[in-house]
């Protein structure tokens, strides 16, 4: 690289946020550079070897719908695929897969290598160069290079003041033996970004060859395995099973006896850990009446003996961890490859960000992933994609685009983050989505791919596949609406409906709980030629029709409030009749729209009315000023 090198977008970090950001910016046509410490660890799964689950699986499908790489990568690297909540309806089903770490990493690297406009290089970013207006102009690397750029996406995970706790032992996190990126921390500090501190943990890793699998429950994958990506026709690699075991009263006794040595209880850690991922010591303390806790034994790869014991994350000292593990059925002789630990790190209060994920105080700087207070590969990937896309749009002079809460979980997550901030590592749940029946894993492409094509972040292969599916779906829907039978005819065919003389179309009939596509085909055999994914989509649409109609009315009302943008520089002090508390909350969150303002807890309907009045008045004044 020469001294005059320049890129449109530079992405710092090669994790799940960084890879999606780099790929998205490049797909958008921006000359993109991905800078990371070690090129060979790009796509590394640093915690548990799994992708997806409820809500997280939905995020992966949305990333895929916008032509991101995570869905295709897990389809290539997955070794056990399961659709969660299969017994429930499609809106709350979530795909999940165990990955072979190595295969997954390789798949990510292969997909990036195929991406045009993308350069990948090793390098430690030490600092950012800002111009007098605070705008990012270049990154400065540890080996003294200055690389000019139009925008930077920072996806550096837990690097900000990371601290690992394993019992009484504390080690500064990551980059052991390397000089920490002090300049970057200082620059972020200098521009006055609000920082918070979080904690997360991981369990010990075990040698699977030393686990006694014989007596343990086994959890197999689905047959046939369902892929994540809309572009994957079928999963061909063989599937492995996970094991299930449990802690016991004896394990709990060991934990209780050593609680004073656990950093969370000795006072060594004070930051907030996630409620949904408590350490085993937390579980034992808070749910003292439970005599056992479930542990999933997840293999990390076909030819990798490492096993991830999901459910017993801990920061107890190493010797206590050994005693604990030796008491767990099936793990009596298990060898611990490395102990579990807790990690504390700083994050940037995401209320510092615009919905595009650009830092409000530093034009051209985007943040994505754990640095924004989230946890999970899928949450990181989703933010990475949106940040990369918007970095490219900024450079090309286009306005930012972010999906809203009715477009997808991506929109829910980003709105939650930039409007409400977070108190614990933010993870996606389906209960966070107001429009859960609409935001399904099965229709992410229908919700987002068309928009992605317009934005230019969807490649030609996917665009063609989507166009074909959309056409088949529209034709199929038209056919189902044209086919109709009278109540009497239906009755003769064994389907009881109200004898009201009103003909029922195929679509209408799918709204009856007992009618599925197989039943429709028995009425109209010619429907046998519907492509399976199209038939399934129509079945789901018909099934939820009544509820979706109501949800769509809600969405129209929601979008009316979203359409009312609040100026970025709105001075809340000049808005009359707001209490000091509400004023502070609004100034902190700087909600992008009136709707977002209303979602901030404690902001009353009266305050929203005042805000609406103020904005309308200022708009009128501006018009008058311009006319004058």
């Amino acid at each position: 690289m020469s001294m005059t090198e320049r890129y449109d977008v530079i992405v710092v970090g090669g994790g799940h946020a960084g890879t999606e950001a780099a790929a998205a910016a490049a797909r958008m046509g921006a000359a993109t550079l991905l800078l990371t410490h070690k090129v060979e660890t790009i796509g590394e799964m640093s915690c548990n070897p799994a992708i997806g689950g409820l809500a997280k699986g939905h995020l992966v499908r949305e990333v895929d719908a916008l032509d991101g790489i995570m869905g295709r990568a897990i389809d290539r690297g997955g070794i056990q695929f399961r659709m969660l909540n299969r017994s429930k309806g499609p809106a709350v089903r979530g795909p999940r897969a165990q990955a072979d770490r190595k295969l997954y990493r390789q798949a990510v690297q292969d997909l990036l290598a195929e991406t045009a406009n993308l350069t990948i290089a090793a390098g430690a970013v030490e600092d950012l160069e800002l111009d007098v207006g605070g705008q990012v102009t270049a990154v400065l690397t540890g080996d003294g290079r200055r690389i000019a750029c139009g925008a930077v996406v920072l996806t550096t995970g837990t690097f900000l003041r990371g601290m690992i706790h394993c019992g009484e032992v504390q080690t500064p996190a990551g980059r052991v033996g390397e000089a920490p990126a002090l300049g970057l921390s200082q620059t972020l500090g200098r521009v006055g970004l609000a920082l918070g501190r979080l904690k997360t943990g991981t369990p010990a890793r075990l040698d699977g060859r030393t686990i006694d699998w014989e007596g343990l429950e086994s959890q197999p994958g689905d047959e046939p395995p369902l892929p994540f990506s809309y572009l994957t026709a079928a999963i061909t690699q063989p599937q492995v099973a996970c094991g299930v075991t449990y802690t016991s009263a004896a394990v709990h006794d060991i934990i209780r006896a050593n609680l004073h040595r656990a950093p969370m209880y000795s006072g060594q850690i004070q930051s907030i850990g996630p409620r949904y991922c408590p350490s085993i010591e937390d579980k034992v303390v808070r749910f003292g009446d439970r005599d056992r806790h479930q542990i999933f034994l997840e293999p990390e790869g076909y030819d990798d003996p490492t096993v991830y014991p999901n459910g017993i994350s801990t920061s107890l000292p190493e010797d206590v961890q050994r005693q604990m593990i030796a008491l767990i059925p099936g793990l009596e002789k298990a060898v611990m490859i490395r102990p579990g630990y807790a990690i504390e790190y700083d994050f940037v209060d995401p209320r510092e960000l615009r919905p595009s994920l650009e830092v409000r105080k530093v034009p051209g700087l985007f943040l994505a992933g754990q640095i924004n207070g989230t946890t999970g590969y899928e949450e990181a990937a989703g933010q990475g994609l949106i940040a990369g896309l918007n970095a490219a749009r900024l450079v090309s002079g286009s306005p930012a685009w972010t999906p809203d809460r009715a477009d997808g979980y991506l929109g829910v997550m980003i709105d939650d983050l930039v409007t409400l901030g977070t108190q614990e590592p933010y993870r996606m749940f389906t209960s966070r989505a107001e429009y859960r029946l609409l935001l399904r894993a099965d229709n992410a492409d229908l919700r987002l791919t068309g928009r992605g094509i317009e934005l230019g972040c969807v490649g030609s292969t996917r665009a063609a596949a989507f166009g074909e599916k959309k056409a088949l779906l529209d034709a199929g829907r038209a056919r189902l609406q044209a086919l109709a039978l009278t109540p009497r005819e239906l009755n003769d065919r064994g389907l009881k409906v109200n004898q009201d003389g009103v003909r029922r179309t195929g679509m209408d009939l799918l709204g009856y709980p007992e009618v599925d596509m197989a039943r429709l085909r028995s009425l109209w055999p010619e429907l046998a030629d519907l492509r399976p994914d199209v038939a399934e989509q129509l079945e789901i649409e018909g099934h939820y029709a009544g509820y979706l109609a109501r949800q769509e009315a809600d969405i129209r009302a929601f979008r009316r409030d979203e359409a009312l943008a609040l100026p970025d520089d709105l001075d809340y002090a000049t808005v009359g009749s707001l209490s000091a508390e509400i004023r502070l909350k609004l100034a902190q969150a700087r909600p992008a729209t009136l709707g977002a303002a209303a979602r901030i807890p404690g902001v009353t309907p009266a305050a929203i009315t005042a805000l609406l009045g103020h904005v309308k008045r200022s708009q009128r004044d501006e018009v008058v000023a311009e006319a004058g």
Partner: protein, 445 residues
């Protein structure tokens, strides 16, 4: 910038012994100092004597002052109350002096209450109750408003809301955490809780709109054949001391409304056109309205002509039901038993002209109204149509949830139920649900 400091008279305009001017906002103390030529401020919540002067030091009035530093005040802000002499001139002068101060302005109607609401000093039901208390005309209205202001209704709704949030949280846990070792019995408990909520809310909705009727007035329609003495009865009731006429509204010729305070309850008494087979169009319209009014009324007072006893008007008889009190008038002109039984119901004989039986009628009316408004359970009443609508919506959604074919559809209706209930006092936040989930279940695969 901080909020404006607002001020307004807190007492009704006009000549009076005392008039109170209230000031609220960050400059309340400064405003007081300016009015009192910098005299030392009295201690909080202690009455102090002050001499109010104008800018030239000219005395305006001699009064009392009370200071309530925020947040321990009505609005949550610094509040100053000036107790002045209730003269038009004094009040005008003080208002003008305050208005001349920088950063002070006259409060808009309801603005003090609104600030109290915004500063978290009261919830929506309490704010409504305050408005009702100020408007209360009868003892029962006052009691109900005070009770609601005290938060009785809010507590009831909060209790329901807490239980609903818990059920919803548990329900969501089963959706969001399928791989977790959740206690299976918790799933059954969700529906037990929903069942109990539906039962309690329904019972509350079945209170005969007690709270609203108490607040808005209990409607009694006087019905009967022409010339049975309906209008005379209305006039007689209106003139009785036990029934204080407060206002005569009713602009329509056919239905005349009289507002009464009957034993502490607000009652709207309506006289309607006589019921018969009408000969011409206008009268027939009047009769149609009379019937409609009779149907809407909370209680019907059926007046029969005693002269024809025991023959009674068939049109009126057809309207007698459980919510009808029967009287047979003109008892002085005919031989009507003291306790006539009409259409199977115990009635009263009376003579509006002689006054015979009027005391008994008043007593019976008081009993009837009281029985329908007093509410046996003692639970706080729903005082507004808004509460009733939201609660009805909540119950409907809970019922749908119970019948839903798929868990996510049940979940959808449980969420709608929570949202409806939240409209009475405040929203249900997602974080609240997550709190319930992670408090009650050990999640953490």
């Amino acid at each position: 910038m901080t909020p404006d400091t607002i001020f307004a008279p807190a007492t009704a305009p006009g000549r009076a012994g005392v008039a109170i001017v209230r000031i609220s906002g960050p400059q309340a103390d400064a405003a007081l100092s300016a009015l009192t030529a910098g005299a030392p401020l009295p201690a909080p919540r202690r009455a102090g004597r002050v001499k109010v002067c104008d800018g030239d030091g000219e005395p305006v009035d001699d009064g009392l002052v009370l200071r309530f530093p925020g947040p321990a005040s009505f609005t949550g802000e610094d509040v100053v109350e000036l107790h002045l002499h209730g003269s038009r001139a004094v009040l005008d002068a003080v208002m003008a002096l305050l208005a001349a101060q920088e950063g002070l302005r006259v409060a808009e109607p309801g603005e003090f209450t609104r600030r109290a609401f915004e500063n978290g000093k009261m919830d929506l039901t309490q704010a409504e109750a305050l408005a009702d208390l100020i408007d209360a005309e009868t003892a029962a209205q006052r009691r109900q408003a005070l009770r609601q202001m005290d938060g009785a209704l809010a507590r009831l709704i909060e209790d329901w809301r807490g239980r609903l949030v818990k059920a919803l949280g548990h329900f969501e846990a089963f959706i969001d955490f399928p791989d977790e070792d959740l206690p299976p019995e918790a799933e059954g408990a969700i529906w037990g809780a929903v069942e109990a909520l539906v039962a309690e809310m329904t019972a509350h909705l079945d209170d005969g709109r007690r709270g609203e009727r108490l607040r808005d007035g209990f409607h009694i329609a006087i019905i009967g054949p022409p010339n049975a003495g309906k209008s005379s009865l209305l006039n007689a009731l209106a003139r009785r001391e036990a029934a204080i006429v407060s206002d005569i509204a009713g602009t329509t010729r056919d239905v005349v409304d009289v507002h009464l305070d009957l034993g502490g309850y607000a009652v709207v008494l309506a006289d309607t056109a006589g019921l018969r087979d009408a000969a011409e169009a206008i009268e027939s319209e009047g009769i149609r309205r009379a019937r409609a009014r009779a149907e809407q009324a909370d209680l019907r007072l059926a007046v029969f002509d005693g002269v024809t006893w025991p023959q009674l008007d068939a049109h009126t008889l057809s309207l007698v039901d459980d919510a009808t009190l029967v009287v047979v008038n003109k008892a002085d002109l005919a031989t009507v038993p003291d306790d006539p039984v009409v259409a199977g119901r115990a009635g009263l004989a009376l003579s509006v002209r002689s006054g015979q039986g009027m005391e008994r009628l008043l007593a019976r009316l008081g009993e009837e109204v009281g029985a329908r408004l007093a509410g046996g359970s003692g639970a706080p009443a729903l005082t507004r149509e808004r509460h009733r609508r939201a609660l009805t919506e909540c119950v409907d959604a809970l019922r749908r949830a119970r019948a839903a074919a798929l868990p996510e559809l049940a979940g959808e209706d449980l969420r709608l139920a929570a949202r409806a209930l939240g409209r009475i006092t405040g929203r249900v936040e997602v974080d609240e649900l997550l709190d319930v989930i992670f408090r009650d279940f050990c999640i953490g695969k």
